[in-house]
């Protein structure tokens, strides 16, 4: 077990439960699903007049989705300033990977109507078969991709 979880299980499980409590509070009080990838489309409705962005749904949701994104940043900041063992931090993943990966993540999650939070957390929690298939596919493909990138000698 130790070789599968070199940092232990506690930070992962506790972090996951805290995330779940956040999602549960939002759902039980407002009926909203705290999912993230729609944030890009709804936020773009402030900047683009194209009809796909100007759908009623995007206009209605853009306020609370921006609020949710703000909450994510504040929550991570609070953790970084309090319990985090290392404090502020910067990734060593190459910029070209962040940019190219980001493009694919933005396009793919919108085409799939969900991401790790949409299909992964809210979808699985809603016992949605569509989301289960999506999670199996994106996780499988991501594992294959990450291993190919590593085999090509790109690190981390």
């Amino acid at each position: 077990m130790i070789f599968m979880f070199p940092l232990g299980i506690e930070p992962y499980l506790v972090g996951g439960i805290i995330i779940g409590i956040g999602v549960a509070i939002i759902y039980l009080l407002t009926g909203l699903h705290a999912t993230q990838s729609s944030f890009f489309t709804t936020t773009l409705s402030w900047f683009s007049k194209r009809k796909d962005f100007q759908k009623d749904k995007n206009i209605e949701e853009r306020g609370w989705r921006l609020t949710l994104a703000t909450g994510l940043i504040i929550g991570a900041l609070i953790h970084t300033l309090t319990l985090s063992p290392i404090g502020f931090w910067t990734t060593s993943v190459q910029l070209w990977r962040l940019i190219l990966g980001g493009l694919l993540v933005g396009f793919g999650t919108r085409l799939s109507s969900g991401c790790t939070s949409g299909h992964g957390i809210s979808g699985l929690a809603s016992l949605s078969k569509t989301s289960l298939y999506a999670v199996i596919v994106f996780m499988g493909i991501a594992i294959i991709t990450a291993n190919i990138v590593q085999l090509l000698g790109v690190s981390p």
């Binding site: 599968m4 979880f5 940092l7 930070p11 992962y12 499980l13 506790v14 996951g16 439960i17 995330i19 779940g20 956040g22 999602v23 939002i26 890009f40 489309t41 683009s48 609020t67 994104a69 909450g71 994510l72 940043i73 504040i74 929550g75 900041l77 609070i78 953790h79 970084t80 404090g87 931090w89 990734t91 993943v93 910029l95 962040l98 940019i99 190219l100 980001g102 493009l103 694919l104 993540v105 933005g106 793919g108 919108r110 085409l111 799939s112 109507s113 969900g114 991401c115 790790t116 992964g120 699985l124 929690a125 809603s126 989301s131 999506a134 493909i141 991709t145 291993n147 590593q150 981390p156």
Partner: protein, 135 residues
């Protein structure tokens, strides 16, 4: 700010705190999962989905409707080729960069400024998808 947005903000703060606590805001830790060196991410996703499932499938049944307003609707999406092709494209991007939408946005709160480029690119990707649908 209305009551609904205050709840969303508080829930979002917990969500972001949990993402940082679990290390998901660090692309290196996500990549170490995808490279099968540290399988902890399963507990993050599993723990969050389990608590969410309790809320959606059990607690919501007792409450009947949300405390503030609206109604309960479990998240459902129709399975189509778009779901699967989109998941494949997302998987390549996730595996390449270790970023997903929620963890990337939360990562800004840890001082990880390079991820701004990744988030900007996510907006561009979502914009291209919207343009294709607007034709």
């Amino acid at each position: 700010m209305n009551k609904r947005n205050i709840v969303v903000l508080i829930g979002g703060i917990l969500f972001g705190f949990g993402l940082s606590y679990s290390g998901m805001t660090k692309q290196e830790i996500v990549l170490s999962f995808l490279q099968l060196k540290d399988l902890g991410l399963i507990f993050v996703l599993g723990g969050a989905a389990l608590v969410g499932a309790l809320a959606i499938n059990i607690l919501a049944k007792y409450l009947k409707k949300p405390v503030l307003n609206g109604q309960f609707k479990p998240r459902s999406r129709i399975l189509s080729w778009k779901t699967i092709i989109g998941a494949i494209i997302f998987g390549v991007g996730w595996g390449l960069s270790g970023q997903c939408p929620g963890s990337a946005v939360a990562s800004l709160g840890t001082g990880n400024l390079p991820v701004l480029l990744g988030i900007f690119a996510m907006f561009v990707g979502a914009y291209i998808k919207g343009l294709l649908d607007s034709r």
